[in-house]
């Protein structure tokens, strides 16, 4: 006997949804029979707007594509311009870029930690982790002037050098974070109920993961070692010592543990960067930003963000403005085709944790 099917609209106004999107669920009893994602609530037509602005005017736009973690976007656009132009970046700028990227990865993981455990009803965790995340935002504010949107990395380097004493403050914050990690372990990752709610839930098939286009922590949670930072090292990642953690299982817990271990790696990377950072200028001489003709050509660049591989395909027709910038966010695949697939058969209670663990970020899907 089949149970009666009902339709459940999860969103767009719903506390369990990550951002502003809608998942239309067909449920029989407590089990999801069919899931359909509806996106477009955050469509701002960034790719169109970039065609209206010069390359440099596009930087304030791209960082708004992914709100929790804007730096990989800036990095991507900067590297795309540099690749088309063949522009050199000073060594110091590369170190500063890696520092900013790792700091923002850490901030994104703190926010994810809050979302993941808050969705499971552990309301103390978001209070702690989002509060701790603010220490990183303070660093960013000092470095770039903005808490959320930095517009710091640009073609040819970074906007300005580190302030005085910034290195010490970063190290101090890293020490603090390292001292907090065991407490988060106690509260979240070793919590018996957390394990009960996450192990064996939202499993991604390891065999199919590559074909489905899974990237980032969800892929590493399937036990597959794939990370842009080692596969195609950009900036100075080939000079840093770090490992890419993988966990077997493919469930929410495996993805959580991947992120948890990457936080340690990020902290150690930031320390290495600060240790090895050379002196020198932070940007080379660049043309007037409003008169910056980028030669004809195209480039596909990618960066490892907190949710996976962020790819930009940029085309220049030799004029002031981009011909086309195509943004390929990790959530584009995770949030639509993958989510629709792995939600089938899940319990309604697990929909929100699964979305959180995949890092579904709607602004990336619709731009």
């Amino acid at each position: 006997m089949r149970e009666k099917e009902t339709t459940l609209y999860l969103g767009p106004q719903h506390p369990g949804i990550t951002g502003n999107m809608m998942v239309k669920l067909k449920v029989a009893g407590d089990t999801v029979v069919k899931a359909e994602t509806h996106v477009g609530y955050l469509h701002r037509a960034f790719e169109k707007l970039m065609e209206q602005r010069t390359w440099m005017q596009s930087f304030p736009i791209v960082c708004r594509i992914c709100v929790p973690e804007p730096d990989p976007n800036e990095e991507n656009l900067a590297r795309a311009v540099e690749e088309i132009e063949g522009r050199e970046v000073p060594e110091r700028a590369k170190y500063i870029r890696v520092m900013a990227l790792e700091l923002s990865r850490l901030a994104a993981y703190m926010l994810w930690m809050g979302g993941q455990s808050g969705g499971l009803g552990l309301y103390t965790a978001p209070q702690w982790s989002v509060g701790d995340r603010d220490y990183i935002l303070d660093l960013f504010e000092e470095l770039t002037g903005g808490r959320i949107y930095h517009m710091y990395i640009w073609a040819g380097g970074v906007r300005r050098d580190l302030p005085d004493g910034f290195k010490e403050r970063v190290l101090k914050t890293m020490d603090y974070f390292e001292s907090r990690l065991p407490e988060y372990d106690k509260l979240i990752f070793d919590n018996a109920i957390f394990k009960k709610r996450t192990i064996g839930i939202g499993v991604i098939d390891k065999e199919k993961a590559l074909e489905w286009g899974v990237v980032g922590p969800p892929l590493r949670g399937c036990g597959i070692k794939h990370d842009v930072r080692i596969d195609e090292p950009y900036e100075i990642y080939d000079k840093l010592e770090f490992e890419v953690p993988t966990v077997e299982g493919g469930d929410i817990y495996a993805r959580a543990m991947v992120r948890r271990r990457e936080m340690e790696q990020s902290i150690s990377m930031i320390r290495q960067v600060l240790d090895k950072m050379p002196g020198g200028p932070v940007y080379n001489k660049v043309p007037n930003p409003l008169n910056w003709y980028v030669p004809k050509g195209d480039a596909y660049v990618k960066t490892e963000s907190a949710r996976g591989e962020f790819g930009y395909y940029a085309v220049s027709d030799g004029s002031l403005k981009p011909r086309r910038v195509h943004v390929r966010g990790p959530a584009y695949v995770h949030g639509v085709s993958l989510l629709e697939r792995i939600l089938v058969g899940a319990n309604i209670s697990d929909v929100s944790p699964i979305m959180n663990s995949l890092g579904v970020c709607p602004p990336e899907i619709e731009r």
């Binding site: 469509h43 790719e47 286009g213 008169n291 596909y300 790819g311 395909y313 695949v333």
Partner: protein
């Protein structure tokens, strides 16, 4: 030259199998293949099944209004040697139609839905070419070059006039510092260039 060994092998294999393909090794881990539009499907199938390019990173579209063509770009990644292939082709802009690749990759469906909506390309074989991002859109697909977003925005939405005593930030700053604004920098929007 030693570093690009794998890339050259891949390029060679492609040009051996697809004689008409124009293969270039762009840089480390990037191979660009230009193909006739009817060769895209066999190429994707070959790359996926025989050359282990199992990851479809993205499908992108560029509007070349001057040439009256759409350029489609399929990006594939090989997980073993991490090489990326960009397969490019041109299709007609007047009556844009192409083959769907949803049976090769699940996620192709999403890209094709978006391109249908944003460029108006009809992908034959995709069963779910429904509304994706926009809702009740009337008029030409917005990502086409001939769609004027500024005009549309001004016609449709209310534009609040600025303050009358508003001062131009750049003039104020340059007046203080005594610099001169370069001719090119006088127009903020650079739309008229």
């Amino acid at each position: 030259m030693e570093e690009l060994k794998i890339e050259k092998e891949i390029a060679e294999e492609i040009s051996k199998t697809f004689h008409s393909a124009e293969v270039t090794v762009k840089r480390e881990k990037r191979v660009v293949v230009k193909l006739r539009d009817d060769l895209i499907t066999p190429f994707l199938s070959y790359a996926k099944n025989n050359m282990n390019f199992i990851h479809l990173a993205h499908i992108s579209c560029v509007d070349w209004l001057e040439d009256n063509k759409f350029e489609l770009i399929y990006s594939l990644l090989n997980y073993d040697n991490k090489v990326m292939i960009l397969a490019k082709t041109y299709i007609d802009r007047e009556n844009p139609e192409f083959v769907s690749h949803t049976n090769y990759w699940d996620q192709a469906e999403t890209y094709e839905r978006e391109m249908r909506e944003m460029y108006g390309i009809n992908f034959k074989g995709n069963k779910r070419l429904t509304e994706f991002i926009l809702e009740d859109w009337q008029g030409i697909p917005p990502m086409r070059r001939d769609f004027d977003t500024v005009k549309f925005s001004q016609d449709t939405f209310y534009n609040r006039p600025g303050r009358e005593n508003a001062q131009d930030v750049r003039t104020t700053v340059t007046k203080k510092s005594g610099e001169e604004i370069p001719e090119i920098g006088k127009d903020y929007t650079v739309r008229n260039l």
